[in-house]
Amino acid sequence: MITRVIVQNYRCLRHLDFVPLDGMNIVVGDNEAGKSTLLEALGLVLTGRVNGRRPGEEINPFWFNTEAVAEYFTAIAGGDKLEPPQILIEVYFAKDDQPQTLRGKVNSRHEDCPGLRLVIELDPDFEPEFDQYLRSSHPPVLPAEYFRARWLDFRELQLQRRPPEFGVAFIDGRTVRSSSGVDNHTRQMLADAVDKRDGAAISVAFRQSRHELTQSVLAGVNQKIRTMTQGLLTGQIELHLDQSASSGWEAAVIPQVGSVPFAMAGQGQQVIMKTALALQATSGKTSFVLVEEPENHLSHTGLMSVIASIEKLAGGRQTFVVTHSSYVMNRLGLDRIHLMHQGKVKEFRGLDAETVSYFKKQSGYDTLRVVLARKVVIVEGPSDEMIFNRAYKDQTGQDPVDDGIDVLTYGTQNRRPLELCHLLDRRVAILRDVDKRTPQHWKDQAKPYLEDGVREMFVGDPGEGSTLEPQLVSANNADLATLGTIVGCPDGEDLTDHLTDNKTESAWRIATSARQIKYPGYITKAITFIRK
């Protein structure tokens, strides 16, 4: 089990200290928060490969954190003597985990456990060239050519290959449309899925069949070529199939579903196939499953089946899922979330087990918005949302989203999202109708999750109406004609009745009208509060 991941100076991850859970881990965050980079770093340090090659052959200047590089160059320009930035990726395993040969204390935390680290640093052999580079006029990037990558265990001993004790399956939502048929991750999983003996048998038979092809059909073709080229060349040109070891069966054998080759399969099907392969490839090993945005290219039913497979995969395996989908998040368990923001991971634990299972059932809930928003306003319905947004614009000249405020509609069932906000320590304003109770009744009910100045509830004054519509009428008592015109209330009809009968339509008219109305006190108070 991976107990910790430390990443330094790798792409957008300047200092990352990530403590995953056993079993399922879900990493969520805004775009550019570093979620995929985290997964990439994990894959890199666990397999010692990137795109199927050793990292040393793939180092490029953009692997280095731009901030760290900029700071370095500034310091150097200022005359400081400084070591160039290093990329460090470390995985720590539980102390008792196999293989114990990887165990030692040579890691940035001096922790005694098995582990792997990837260090990308200035190659001492290139120090003179690097100094020369610094003195010359150079682009604001590090010359990757002078850097070396060392893949080490926690004894600082270099590894040549991935320890056989563990398997890594990388399932990404990216799809293949190339003629080569299968991407590297899938190819690796394919090779892992076939055991050694079967692999050898396939390899021998594959070579045999190619030999036969050369002997039969190609023999005729070669005869023709010979007559055609006679006298032109001293040697002979013949066509042969490649018999070298590198042209192994793995390159020619591809998975196929329902007689459709992998690359030709639908994008969703490719993801499903990869998941199925991973299930096979990592069976019986201490293994890690990395899943990147499983929701990509999948229909809702496709996603449901992939998530079911991922859950099955996770049984006993430590799994890391990066997602943008609330469905994936709800389904796999809200208590398994790691929140990434600007290259850092934030944990939140202690979510009530009942709430977790509630969201598993109600997987359509847009929990991701709650998780990602900086400030949240929870309202009851679509009409409340439209009125709130317009009131906000009228009061502040901006849209809520401009201030990082997400307005969410949760009906009257606001307890669960509120609990989530409480654990995430989000700033929240909850707006609700007083209905047939007192404001205090509702506040008392939500008490465990409220906190003055952080999470407050705003309930309409009972004297001004039990729902939004009578509240609007009370607020605009001084100029009911304007409100009536905006919502198109026919002459003679009671304005409150009209609003109540045409809730959403009226709210939409108010929200899009060129004219402004007055808003109930609890709404304006909520706006003032959430802007603080």
């Binding site: 008792d96 196999q98 293989p99 114990q100 040969t101 165990r103 030692g104 204390k105 040579v106 001096h110 005694d112 926690f154 004894r155 600082e156 001993l157």
Partner: protein, 302 residues
């Protein structure tokens, strides 16, 4: 999968590398710096006494570094080994010395099954010449260390007293080279082939060419500066360790010649070197002497 490695690599990879930060944080180890002769870090202090600027550990202080780390790790070194190995076999254990013995004792105290194999009478090499810890157990005295471990009930000693190589005459002679104070049991030969020239002999200097011609023995000498016949190729005692030949011809040192003549006890190291030289041969051992008349050993003449 069993792992096979030399003692130095074992100490480096399983003791020093994993827990070096416990003793010298910030230093790293890249390999071994073989030290033979002068001490390159004689006046160095701290980590520099053990590790050269390129990160290589000086071989003669590797045992001390390993032992210091094993102690500083508060049991982590042994715990780690126990989780990797069920059994450890160490061959030529008589060559371990000084602080190596400290590491070895920690291993004997662990849950692992440790099997040590060696012959103290062949103590001609050691992992460090300068390690002064456990000085009283140097060379053949190592047998007393094993006996000490047995008294502490950390191990059981089993004496193997049979040889399938040397004839009884040769092995009896070899046993007589070893000082009696070590109370090592006598050896029994299972070599039954007779060749017509079997046992231990003396050959005078002028008969050597004929002896070489007739028997083609492996020629052994103490060191490359020892005087031998011109045109004759010889192997030093130390280098002969581990080989098996039909016959050997030995150019004795002064003390060896004295031992042959009077039975005067050899120093431990000399005894060990002679023991190794003699026990290379299956059938015959001949010593080159200037005058064979006073020797008790049978003399060979053409």
């Amino acid at each position: 999968m069993p792992e096979v490695s030399g003692w130095f690599s074992f100490l480096l990879n399983h003791v020093v590398r994993p827990y070096l930060p416990d003793v010298y944080p910030g230093r790293s180890v890249t390999g071994l710096h073989w030290v033979e002769g002068a001490d390159p870090a004689r006046f160095a202090r701290g980590a520099d006494r053990y590790i050269d600027p390129e990160g290589r550990v000086y071989s003669h202080r590797l045992g001390k570094l390993a032992y210091d780390i094993a102690i500083a790790s508060h049991g982590a070194v042994v715990d780690r080994l126990e989780r990797i190995f069920d059994e450890i076999y160490i061959d030529e254990v008589q060559d371990l010395t000084g602080n190596d013995l400290g590491v070895l004792e920690l291993m004997l105290r662990s849950k692992m099954n440790i099997t040590l194999v060696g012959d103290v009478r062949q103590s001609v090499f050691s992992t460090s010449r300068s390690d002064t810890k456990n000085k009283k157990y140097q060379g053949m005295n190592k047998v007393e260390w094993f006996r000490e471990m047995e008294r502490k009930t950390l191990c059981l000693i089993e004496y193997r007293t049979a040889t399938w190589r040397c004839t009884q005459e040769i092995i009896d002679f070899a046993d007589s080279v070893v000082p009696v104070r070590f109370s090592l049991p006598n050896t029994t030969s299972h070599q039954s082939v007779r060749t017509g020239h079997d046992g231990v002999f003396v050959v005078t200097w002028d008969h050597v060419p004929e002896y070489l011609e007739k028997f083609s023995p492996e020629v052994l000498r103490d060191k490359s500066t020892s005087k031998i016949h011109e045109g004759c190729t010889a192997t030093n005692f130390g280098q002969a360790k581990g080989i098996t030949v039909e016959r050997v011809l030995i150019y004795p040192t002064k003390p060896i010649e004295a031992f042959l003549l009077t039975g005067a006890l050899l120093a431990d190291t000399s005894a060990a070197r002679l023991y190794v030289a003699v026990t290379r041969a299956k059938h015959s051992v001949a010593f080159v002497v200037s005058d064979s008349s006073h020797h008790l050993l049978p003399r060979w003449t053409p």
